[in-house]
Amino acid sequence: MVYKIDAQSDRQYIEEFREKPIGAHSPGLQRLLNIIRNDPSGYQIVLICRKPFAEWVLGTMPPNRLDGPIVIEEGPVFSSREEAEWEVFRRRWRKYTGEDINTPFRD
C-alpha cells in the first residue's frame, strides 16, 4: 500500500524542501515528493519559461495534448526555478493535507 501522507509526521520535511527544493533530500522528503509529484488524474503542473534563466510561470497540461492547450497562469511570476518549486510544493501540500503553508520561499 502506498504511503499515506500525514500532515503531522510529514510536516518536518517542509522546511527541508524550502531550504533546498532541488538536490539531495532525506528519505522521508523523497518519499513525500515521489507521492505528491504524481497526479492520477493525468493533469500535470509544468514550469513555463517566459524568459530563459529569468522568468517563469506555472502551467497545467491536460492528460492528453489532444484534450486542449496547456493553461498558462499569468502569475505568480518566479525569478528562479526553486521559487516555483516552493509554490507548487505548497499547493500540493494543501491538496494532500488541507493545510496552508504561509511561509515565503525566502524570508
Partner: protein
C-alpha cells in the same frame, strides 16, 4: 511559441557542396538568414554565454517565407492499378487494430478527391468494419458491420462490393474468439449508391483528402491483403494462404501483396500476375510479426512468412517535404566544425521566439587535397543520438517524468511549440498515438531539440542541456583552447567507415554518443585497434544498436529489445531491425558491451544534480602522470553548469568482465550521489532495495585511462555532465586541465607503450 522553424536537407555537408534549408514562417512574409559557426549554445548566465561567429557567405540575406505544414501518417500507395469499381471485387486482409476508438480509419480506398467519388473500406465508429461508396453526384452510402473489433486482436476481414447492384457484404472474424465478446460480424445490404470507378491510386491505410493531404489513416497492422475480382465469401481467403493455391482460384486475383517480401525496402510486392507493386510512404513499421506468428522464430529473415504485417501509424513521418527557402554552397575554405543557419523574423519576447539556429555540420572535404594536411584531432558529432532524441516529448506525453527529473518540467517556447505540433513526429523515446513505440526517426523534419539555445527538461539542473546543445560546451572549450580539429557526424562514419577515421590521431566524442550502427561500431573498433586514441567525453555511449536504411537517407531504426533503460519495449518477436535484419537492442546484449569501445559502460542515471570525482590510487600510477600534470587536487569537478558537478546525468564505470581493458586505470571515481541517481536496469537481476546512489556503492562514474596494444589509448570521462565543467573559472579548472593534458598527449605521435 516559435514563429520560425526549419530543418536542413542534410546534417553533414562538405566544403563546396550545397545545403538547403526548409523553413516555415508562422507570421510575416520575410526572414533574415546568416551562416554562423556555433561555439557555445548555452544561455546560462553562470557560464560563458552564447557564442556564435558570423561567417560571411552566400546565405546572408533576406528571404521570403510562408507557413509550411506536415502531412503525417503512413500509408501504401499503388499507382498502377485499374479502377476497381468497374466491376465486382472483394478485398480481404488480416488486420490488428491498435486505436479502434478513432473513427474514419481507411483500410483501402480508391477515391477521387475532385469529385469525392469512389470507395473506402474502413474501420470506424469504435472499431466497426465499414464500406463507404460515393458517386460523382456527391451521394454517399455506407454499411457498417454493427460490431466493434477489439484493440490488438487479429481479425480476418472481407468486403465485397458489386457496383452494378450496389450490393456490399462485410465480414469480420476474430482469429481468437472470446466468451461473451461479440466481435464476429457479418452484414450485407444493397446500397442506393454505386461507387464511381475512379482512375486514382489505390491507397492502403490512408485516403486522399480535398485539401491535398492524405488523411483517414489506419492505426494498426495489415497482413496478407488480397484483392479478388468478383464477389466471394469470407472464407475464400483461406484458400489463398496455402503454399499451393488451387488453380481455380488463381483467375480471380487482382493483387495479392506479400508484406513479408522485401522488408528492407519501401516497395511492397504484389505476387499476383499483374504485379501491382506498391510503395510505402512515411515509414510504417515493417518486419512486424503477422497474424500467424507462432513464436517458433523471432527473426523475419529466417521465417519471413510469419512477418507478413506492416504496422501503420497515423503519426508516422519520414519526410516533411517542405519547400526549400534557402540554399547555398558551403565556401570551399570553410573550416570543418559545427555551424548553423541563423534565421530570424523579428524580436523575440515573452510570448514568442522569432529566431532559430538550424544546426548542421561541415565535414572535411571528401577527397583529401594533396599537400594539405588535416588536423590530428577529429570530433565525432553524435547525430545518430540527436536523431534518436529528435523532438523528445516525454515531458508532454509521459506522466512520471517530473518524478524522474526530481523537479518541475520546464517548457520553453520550443516545448510549447512541440506540444502543439505532434505532427512533427516523436523521438525514439516516444510512443505513437496507438501506444506502440516509435522505432524510426528521420532528420527530414524539424528537430527542435537539435539546436543551440534549446534548454531541455532533462538536462540537469542549471543549464539544462542534453545532447546537441550540451555538446556545445565541448565546442566552446576546443575553441577556447585553440584546438585545430575536423568534425564528422555519425552518418558520415556509417557511410564512409574506417577510412574516414584512419588518418586522425585523436577522436573526441560528445557528451552522449549513445546510438551506433554496426558499420559505425566496426569502424571505430578498427581504428582503435590500429592505434587510435579515443577521448570519450561523455556517458552512456555505445549503448543501443541502430540501423540506417538502404534506400532512404537520414533515418535510423532502433528496436527496444530485451533490456536497458527503455521508455517502451518492442513486442516479443520484433527485436530484429527491418532496415537490416540485424538483431537490435543493447550492444551489450549482442556481445559488444560499450566497454569494448570506450573502456567503460553504463551504470546509473539521474537527472537533477551532479556530483564530483575523488582521485583514486591509480592516479598516482606513472602511466597516468601526464594526465595529472599540474593537477594536485583530491576532488575533481565539484563545479559545473550541468547539475553543479562533473559527474552527473548518466554515468559509466569500469567492468573488465564486460570488456574494459584489463590494464585500465581508475583515475578517479565520483561519489556522494543522491537517491535519484539510480542503477541501470541491466545491472541487476533481482531488484535491489538500494537503487539510489545514496545507498548503492556501485553508483559512480570512473574516470579511466588505458593503453591499447597498438600504441593507442582510451580516455573516458564516464559522465554526461563532464563537459559542463570545462568552462568553470575562465576555463582554468581541474576538469579542463585534465582534458587538455590528455588531448595534448593523445595528439602527440609517440606511441603509448604497449608492453612492460
Amino acid at each position: 511559441m516559435l514563429k520560425i522553424v526549419g530543418y536542413p536537407d542534410r546534417y553533414s555537408v562538405a566544403p563546396g557542396e550545397k545545403i538547403a534549408f526548409k523553413i516555415s514562417l508562422e507570421e510575416g512574409t520575410h526572414f533574415d538568414a546568416r551562416l554562423v559557426r556555433v561555439i557555445h549554445g548555452d544561455c546560462n548566465p553562470e557560464g560563458p554565454g552564447l557564442k556564435f561567429r558570423h561567417i560571411k557567405s552566400a546565405a546572408d540575406g533576406r528571404y521570403r517565407g510562408k507557413p509550411q505544414r506536415i502531412d503525417a501518417g503512413s500509408y501504401m500507395t499503388v499507382e498502377s492499378i485499374p479502377a476497381l469499381a468497374s466491376g465486382a471485387f472483394t478485398f480481404s486482409a488480416m488486420i490488428w487494430p491498435t486505436l479502434p476508438k478513432r473513427s474514419n480509419q481507411t483500410l483501402i480506398a480508391q477515391w477521387d478527391v475532385q469529385t469525392g467519388s469512389g470507395f473506402r473500406i474502413e474501420m470506424t465508429d469504435g472499431g466497426q468494419l465499414a464500406a463507404t461508396l460515393a458517386d460523382t453526384s456527391g451521394r454517399t452510402a455506407e454499411l457498417r458491420s454493427g460490431r466493434a473489433m477489439l484493440e490488438r486482436q487479429w481479425y480476418a476481414i472481407a468486403v465485397s462490393i458489386d457496383p452494378l447492384t450496389g450490393m456490399v457484404v462485410l465480414d469480420q472474424r476474430p482469429v481468437q474468439p472470446y466468451s461473451r465478446i461479440a466481435d464476429r460480424a457479418h452484414a450485407s445490404a444493397r446500397l442506393a449508391v454505386a461507387p464511381e470507378a475512379v482512375a486514382a491510386p489505390l491507397l492502403m491505410a490512408g485516403c486522399a483528402e480535398p485539401d491535398g493531404t492524405i488523411g483517414r489513416h489506419f492505426d494498426g497492422k495489415i497482413d496478407s491483403p488480397l484483392l479478388l475480382s468478383g464477389v466471394h465469401t469470407a472464407d475464400r481467403q483461406d484458400g489463398y494462404w496455402r503454399p499451393v493455391i488451387d488453380p481455380s482460384l488463381l483467375k480471380h486475383i487482382i493483387a495479392r501483396w506479400d508484406f513479408s517480401r522485401e522488408i528492407r525496402r519501401t516497395r511492397t510486392v504484389d505476387t499476383g500476375p499483374s504485379q501491382h507493386h506498391g510503395r510505402i510512404v512515411h515509414l510504417p513499421a515493417r518486419g512486424m510479426k503477422g497474424w500467424n506468428w507462432t513464436g517458433e522464430e523471432h527473426s523475419w529473415t529466417r521465417k519471413p512468412e510469419h512477418y507478413g504485417a506492416i504496422h501503420f501509424h497515423s503519426d508516422d513521418l519520414y519526410d516533411a517535404g517542405w519547400e526549400t527557402a534557402v540554399e547555398f554552397a558551403i565556401p570551399d575554405d570553410l573550416k570543418s566544425g559545427p555551424y548553423a543557419l541563423h534565421v530570424s523574423s523579428g524580436e523575440s519576447d515573452r510570448q514568442a521566439t522569432r529566431e532559430q539556429y538550424i544546426a548542421f555540420f561541415v565535414r572535411p572535404p571528401r577527397k583529401r587535397k594533396a599537400g594539405v594536411s588535416r588536423p590530428e584531432v577529429l570530433v565525432l558529432a553524435s547525430t545518430a543520438s540527436y536523431l534518436a532524441y529528435a523532438n523528445h516529448g516525454e515531458h508532454i506525453t509521459a506522466r512520471g517524468a517530473e518524478r524522474q527529473m526530481a523537479r518541475l518540467l520546464q517548457f520553453g517556447h520550443t516545448d510549447l511549440y512541440m506540444y502543439d505540433h505532434p505532427e512533427l513526429g516523436g523521438s525514439l523515446y516516444d510512443c505513437h498515438a496507438d501506444g506502440s513505440g516509435v522505432c524510426y526517426s528521420s532528420r527530414l523534419r524539424p528537430n527542435l531539440n537539435f539546436s543551440p539555445k534549446y534548454h531541455s527538461w532533462l538536462g540537469g539542473h542549471g543549464s539544462g542541456l542534453y545532447q546537441y546543445n550540451a555538446d556545445t560546451h565541448l565546442y566552446d572549450w576546443l575553441d577556447h583552447q585553440g584546438v585545430d580539429y575536423d568534425l564528422i557526424t555519425d552518418e558520415d562514419l556509417h557511410s564512409d567507415g574506417y577510412e574516414l577515421l584512419r588518418d586522425y590521431r585523436v577522436v573526441v566524442t560528445g557528451t552522449h554518443p549513445e546510438y551506433h550502427s554496426t558499420p559505425m561500431w566496426d569502424a571505430m573498433k578498427a581504428w582503435i585497434d590500429r592505434g587510435g586514441r579515443l577521448m570519450y567525453m561523455g556517458g552512456n555511449g555505445w549503448y543501443w544498436r541502430i540501423a540506417y536504411h538502404d534506400e532512404m537517407p537520414g533515418v535510423i531504426e532502433v528496436r527496444r529489445a530485451e533490456d536497458g533503460i527503455r521508455t517502451w519495449a518492442a513486442e516479443p518477436g520484433e527485436y530484429y531491425h527491418s532496415f537490416t535484419g540485424e538483431y537490435g537492442g543493447l550492444w551489450r546484449r549482442i556481445g559488444r558491451a560499450p566497454n569494448v569501445i570506450c573502456g567503460v559502460g553504463f551504470i546509473a542515471q539521474g537527472f537533477d544534480v551532479s556530483s564530483y570525482y575523488r582521485r583514486a590510487p591509480d592516479a598516482a600510477n606513472p602511466r597516468a602522470a601526464f594526465i595529472f600534470k599540474g593537477v594536485k587536487d583530491e576532488i575533481i569537478g565539484n563545479f559545473g553548469l550541468i547539475g553543479g558537478g562533473a559527474a552527473g546525468i548518466e554515468l559509466d564505470c569500469i567492468a573488465t568482465n564486460l570488456g574494459s581493458l584489463p590494464n585500465i586505470l581508475r583515475l578517479a571515481s565520483s561519489e556522494n550521489h543522491n537517491s535519484m541517481m539510480m542503477l541501470a536496469n541491466e545491472e541487476f537481476m533481482v531488484v535491489p532495495p538500494n537503487l539510489g546512489g545514496d545507498q548503492n556503492e556501485r553508483v559512480k562514474a570512473d574516470l579511466a585511462f588505458g593503453e591499447t596494444p597498438s600504441g593507442g589509448a582510451i580516455f573516458a570521462t564516464s559522465s554526461i555532465a563532464w563537459c559542463g565543467s570545462l568552462s568553470h573559472n575562465g576555463y582554468d579548472n581541474n576538469v579542463s586541465k585534465i582534458c587538455w593534458n590528455v588531448l595534448q598527449r593523445f595528439a602527440h605521435p609517440e606511441p603509448f607503450k604497449a608492453a612492460f
